[in-house]
């Protein structure tokens, strides 16, 4: 019996020690490292570098876009004139797949560092959806998270390599900034208050990446001559990214298309 009392006592003490420790939602946080110093770092050579363009195409009959059920939060429903649709798979009229993340996976010189943009990449919570739905960002670059809604949100990325965080952001709160220090493609971002909210972030250690537009096309510019592995990752096929080999010379313009099977 004495052991039980000791166990209960320790548990109570630990519980009380936790009281009052509730975190106030922070306006700003930076769990990563500061943006990398750009001294000596390279930038894409837009005049002499190669350009890769391409299109990500859906093979099959595109599924209908699913309607999101936002009825649990009237402020979210009110933000949309017509019911909002899931952005998991958006296929254009010509079967172009929107929001695919295309990046140079390997082939760049290992000893070369690339200048990190000093401007932040912005992601906004608007109409209880993340906008843009998919973003690319360089490791060390600032991510700026805005809440444009009259409702509470929490930003919860689920990285496997970088550190995770779970940050609340009430309406009108200042922007929240974060830096992902390590390369990671493609991490899911959730909002645990509105479970339909999803965004995807590709963190890359160089500037050679793109997100496909409405028509499924992408462009990567300023690539040094070389042979590369170029990869496409899309949330609908998150566990099945596609790789291709491509060789480019100076000032080359090459096309690399991808087909994603439905």
């Amino acid at each position: 019996m004495k052991k039980i009392w000791i166990t209960v006592g320790v548990a109570c003490a630990l519980t009380l020690a936790g009281c009052g420790g509730g975190e106030k939602p922070a306006a700003k946080s930076d769990a990563g490292t500061a943006p990398a110093a750009n001294a000596g770092a390279a930038t894409p050579d837009l005049d002499n570098g190669a350009t890769i363009t391409g299109k990500v195409t859906f093979d099959g009959t595109p599924p209908a876009m699913k309607t999101l059920d936002m009825s649990a939060v009237p402020a979210c429903t009110a933000a949309h004139k017509t019911p909002a649709k899931s952005e998991e798979l958006i296929v254009g009229a010509d079967k172009g797949v929107k929001n695919a993340f295309v990046w140079i996976k390997s082939g760049l010189p290992a000893d070369k560092t690339w200048a990190v943009p000093t401007t932040a990449v912005t992601i906004t919570q608007e109409g209880c959806m993340y906008s843009p739905h998919v973003i690319g960002i360089m490791a060390g670059q600032n991510l700026d998270v805005k809440n444009g809604d009259p409702t509470n949100h929490n930003i919860h990325p689920m990285p496997k390599i970088n550190s995770d965080f779970n940050q609340s952001q009430p309406p009108g709160a200042p922007d929240f900034e974060h830096v992902f220090p390590r390369e990671e493609v493609l991490m899911t971002v959730k909002c645990n208050i509105h479970p339909w909210m999803r965004a995807y972030i590709g963190v890359v250690s160089h500037p050679f990446y793109a997100v496909t537009g409405d028509d499924g096309t992408y462009t990567i510019k300023g690539l040094p001559p070389g042979t590369y592995t170029i990869e496409v990752v899309h949330e609908h096929w998150l566990d099945a990214p596609q790789d291709q080999q491509i060789t480019v010379g100076a000032k080359d313009s090459k096309t690399q298309d991808f087909t994603l099977k439905g």
């Binding site: 009392w5 548990a11 630990l14 509730g22 649990a72 899931s86 409702t151 509470n152």
Partner: protein, 251 residues
Amino acid sequence: MTAGGLVTSNDAALAAPDWPLNWGRLVPPLEGSIRFEFAHRVLALLVALLTTALALSMQAREPRRWMRQLAWWAVAAVLAQALLGGAMVKLIDPKSLAIAHASLAEICFALTVAIVAGCYGVTEPRPRGSGAFAAVTLFAQAVLGAAVRHGAIGIVPHICGAVIATGAAMWASLAILVRHLDDGKMPRPALTLLGFTALQIFSGIAAYSVRAAAVHDPQPMPLTVWTTVAHVVIGALTLGAAIWLAMTEEG
């Protein structure tokens, strides 16, 4: 356990990013999935208070030492469960803690069932026989289920575990029914275990089928939530029935 299942199924475990407060206050803004997490915390507090009251009451009135000990173990388990829940929030829901939290919930429930069994006819604390084996396999299966639910493992180990746990539960209950059909107290837990085992098989198939069919639908879909929560809750009830049977079973 239902509230906990709803939190997981609605992906609401981190809807309140702080603990023990909620958004820095006692009562958070009750919107979206915050409601599931807050309801879970309130019910957890209620369970902790009721379990403590039960232990204090047994300390005062219960003559059997093992029953008093069981009640205090239940208090310790519930408090540990609360701390584990808090740690999950603080450490941003690591899978290992989420699985431990789900597994400890089963232990809390099993201890409560054992106390209730002790209050209604069980005279000795020692679980035995095929019922005890069934309880162990059902608990292991619950741990595997939690691991699947939190994305730590695939579905295959849980399906293999289901075959073993179902076999153990059916063997335990049918053996008792054959041997003690005329014994007033034995058939009831055996029939209860048999019934819950059958229900659990169907709820498992339903939960898996619904989830597989809706894999690309925007989650959480109500049908996915409720079939999964039902599977979790019936699983706990099946474990409870096995504990009851094990404690009732005669050597």
